[in-house]
Amino acid sequence: MASRPHFDIRRQPGFVAIALFTFAVLYLPIATLVAYAFNASDSVTVWGGLSLRWFVEASRNAAVQDAAWRSFVIATSAATVATIAATMAAIATTRTPPYRGLGFKYAFINQPLMVPEIVTAVALLIVFSRIKVWTGYSGLGYLILAHTAFCIPFAYLPIRARLESMDSSLERAAADLYATPWRAFRRVTLPLLRPGIIAGFMLAFVISLDDVVITEFVKSGGQDTLPTYMLGQIRREVTPEVNAIATAFLALSVLLVTVFFVINRKKA
């Protein structure tokens, strides 16, 4: 290489420009959305100066409060149940010699990731609408159950990854010291597994919070979550209030993802 000292073998013409363009494309729409959330005027087309007006209006809107609370209840319940089920499933499918049905379990647990959401959504609509008629119950249970199902693979992934990287000698040592299996699990496995479980829960929580399609098809009347409420609003006329809700939502997601990254980095 001495004959051509300035020749950079990593360079490809135009790649840097396209990459920077891509980053601009990724952030320009979000930046626009956030900017208009702070717009003082009544419309998303005319800029009327900086103001927090629409954040105040959104937070006072009873329908928004209602939807936000419902989103929180569903995401918390679904993520909790999904994390417990996924932790158990992860323990049952890692650090074991392959046994019959192991591959089947993997496929089963990851199934919600493989099927387009709209397909699952209408299938649930078919089944749940029947059950709603039969039982007369049309509460939040359906939404929580549906969310739990598609949250399980997301909770499962980090928990399984954590388990696989864990050293089983500590648990064996506990067993050698006459700890019962349950005690060994509580005092040794669970504390070691905690970062994976927290990551899994957060991932499940964000996934549930974000869901639009399945919620839209499964919900009964008056069961809007924040995303389905926004979907309804976008269809009608758009005021910067939707921008304000979206911006608050965005801030929460970014916060959760950042925390998730930090936790995962500490692990590595």
Binding site: A121, I234, L250
Partner: protein
């Protein structure tokens, strides 16, 4: 010795039973609220549609599947192709393929750019790709709407620079859906591409230049073949959700530019043809399964090559 082997096998069997019990909650929940309903839907696709939605219990027919492709004239019973459905299916396939190609054209240089940064800054760039990825899909579609609508910044920019004097009508066209899908699914292309480029051995690139290869030849003959698994993974990850897109065409495409997802919804709403909706859903799932199968086979082959 025989009895020792016997007890060991018994212990092993007991352990496996324990493992099934432990995984039971997850399996049951997914069966009840994801896999089971798909089978019910498969059955529905072979039933007779009810007059006000739903189906007539106990009556079976192939009408649902028939009307995916054909329509029967009400007056003279002549059978013709169901152009409306076929054109929507065609649009879905076309837009998904274009989206995949566009994200590849933008995503490949982006992933390469990240992979060639100094090690400590790579993480920051990856994080910058991850943030939009975790942002709500609906919010991103809505954000794109604000960019491309007639009074949006794209049109303002084009008018300010004098390129156009009338706003471009992008909203409620196929272009709007395309812009939305490319924007939303870009991270799904960049991330797997980056994962395989990160492992790229630049000594091979150097060897190429030593043998007087041009930059284009190095790209075509060395880099692209080496990161092919990433290209395939990214393309599958973009193609599958594009094909099943529902929110993006609904927000950006308006009522006329439907994609398969919206056509399915229509059958369960105003269309009141649940068997057709079920058949369309199964068909969509079948296409996705074929794409996944292609991916798995490809992954297995390249795994065999490198491993």
């Amino acid at each position: 010795m025989a009895s020792a082997g016997e007890t060991a096998r018994q212990a092993e069997r007991k352990q496996i039973r324990g493992r099934w019990l432990l995984s039971a909650p997850a399996l049951v929940i997914i069966f009840v609220a994801a896999i089971g309903p798909l089978f019910v839907m498969l059955a529905y696709s072979f039933m007779v549609k009810g007059d006000y939605g739903d189906v007539k219990p106990g009556q079976y027919s192939l009408d649902g599947w028939f009307s995916v492709f054909f329509q029967r004239d009400i007056f003279d019973d002549t059978v013709t192709f169901a152009d409306a459905h076929l054109s929507i299916i065609w649009r879905s396939l076309r837009l998904s393929v274009i989206t995949t190609l566009a994200t590849l054209v933008l995503g490949f240089p982006t992933a390469y750019f990240i992979a060639t940064r100094p090690r400590h800054t790579r993480e920051v760039w990856v994080f910058l790709v991850t943030i939009p990825f975790w942002t709500n899909l609906l919010i991103r579609a809505f954000a794109m709407q604000q960019v491309i609508r007639n009074e949006g910044i794209l049109n303002s920019l084009l008018r300010a620079t004098g390129i156009i004097d009338q706003p471009l009508q992008i909203m409620y066209t196929d272009w709007a859906i395309l812009f939305g899908m490319v924007y939303v699914y870009l991270p799904l292309m960049v991330l797997p591409l980056y994962a395989s480029m990160e492992k790229l051995d630049f000594r091979l690139v150097e060897a190429g230049y030593d043998l007087y290869a041009s930059r284009l030849a190095v790209l075509r003959r060395i880099i692209i073949p080496l990161v092919k698994p990433g290209i395939v993974a990214g393309s599958i990850l973009v193609f599958i959700p594009s094909l099943g897109a529902y929110v993006i065409p609904r927000v950006l495409g308006g009522g006329k530019n439907l994609m398969l997802g919206n056509l399915i919804e229509l059958q369960f709403g105003a269309g009141r043809n649940w068997p057709l909706g079920a058949a369309l859903s199964i068909a969509l799932m079948a296409i996705v399964m074929v794409a996944l199968l292609f991916y798995v086979r490809n992954a297995a082959r390249s795994g065999a090559q490198h491993g």
